[in-house]
Amino acid sequence: MDEARDHVAGLPQDEAGFAALVREHGDAVFGLALRRVGDRATAEDLAQETFLRAWRGRAGFRGETSVRGWLCAIAANVVRDWGRRRSRRPQESLEPEFIDVASPGDDPAVRAEVAEAIDRLRTALAALPANHREMFLLRERDGLSYADIAAVLSCPIGTVMSGLARARERLLEAVTG
């Protein structure tokens, strides 16, 4: 989960090295955009724009955040700009991200139980307030630190801390029934 913190030294300054960054962090950036716009084609365009903007602004990266956190913060701005250009609120959509469920094991009983818990988790995630859901996914799925999440969501770290706890409480209530 802490892979995002492994890159604090700097950014590749050559184009090939930068393209490798896209492969490493593309899923996180694309996932963030997709959750907010709900459309794969648009999310891909915004992810591409994010990386191009990051390339142009790479001199400004000082390693104060993780590379992934920095990219996600840029992506959040790109989506925001897109939303303002379109004069509409970015749409929330969980569908594309939660279509498939990983295979939980060989034992059919365990598999059914875990699949049911995952199903409940997925439903509870969709019911969370958008910013709490985003905090949870940025932390659990993308491994961002609280400081990185605060930068992406433009909120204080204390808000991240309380929001994550609240999200976990609600998710646990749903999962444990």
Partner: protein, 419 residues
Amino acid sequence: MDHAEARMLASARADGELDAGRAAELDEHLLSCGACRAFADAIPQLSALASALTRAQAPSELAEKVRRELAQPRSERAVVLPMRPTMRPWRAASALVAALVVALVAVVVGPLPLVRVPTAAAARALSRIGSLHVEREIRSFDDPQHPDRLTATVRESIWFRSPGLVRIETVQNGVRTIEIRRPGVRYDEGPGGGSLRTGLLPTNELPEPLSPTILMIGRVTGEGPVTLGRRTVRVEARFDLERREALLDAERFLVVGAEESVVLAKTAITQRSRIEKRTLSIEYNPVLPDRLFAIPPGLFPVDAGARPQTPGSIAGAPASAPEGLDLVSSVSGRNGSGVLYAAGAFQVLVTIDAAPEDADSSERNAVEVAGRPGLVVLSLYRLPQVRFAVGGHTIVVSAPLPPVQVVELAARLYPAGRE
């Protein structure tokens, strides 16, 4: 320590974000609280479960697309400007607009724009248009490898407006799109074709000049561009309530008047990025001719579940619009709510029996609407809303006005004694 705080600290500790001092306080609480202990113990299981959710996969060609884009010569990648861009004439995308603009404004050239006062004939021609808004926006970025120049994106928009009707023509980096909007109808046209929708028009799809992104933030402004024929600087502090940020903008205006019109040449520098925005804005009162908003033939409306109704057939609708406004259309929503549009100098949206919304990202303040308790709801991307109850209905009034004026408007729509 209460349970909420204990759970917040337990959650932070699971993420490695808690210092030792606070950890000791947490442990003390956990010793005596089984429920919080159970919560802390369950966090790793929740994480394990979350890791089983499939994550969104970026398209495999994304990395290749970015690599190709970076490998392209810079002149093909984006518009490249000299370090000190010279001011160019307005480039209007339609002949009509070009003619009007040329008649009205000679050319905006140099750091101190030169603007010719419009002739009376041009003003008369323009008076048939409700309003015209031309905008050229250049967003520029430093290019570390080429310090002698800036890389930039350019967007030009032309807006025709009248109450409730908007036609927007945008050219961004050579791609031209057209949008036509009015209450309940939206038409989009781009390189890939056009689409037409009918049904409810959410308030968050209001056109940019009415955009809540501008209206939802508090404003503190200095002297505005009010004196004809003079250059003026406006400094504006904007407070973004949701993101809790303050932005300082400085804008330079040259103001030229022709009766009701005003022409602005504006350069804005924000803290986030450099945005050079050339704006020509002409405001007139007469109604815009409908032909500017004609929907091209061959496109079929898609019913979004709403049906037009007369205002009187919706329970809870105001008896009449306040002076200066007309109730122009209404629809019934899928969940039984009614939506009315009132038009005048601006659009007013009245929603009746609205479903309660998630208050999480909103700011709410208690107010009084003609003696009734109400709430002002502020959130980004939305117009200011005033919510209150009348005769068993929940009424939501929103308008592109400061919140205090929306409260006054709501009180005029639903005066005291009308339940």
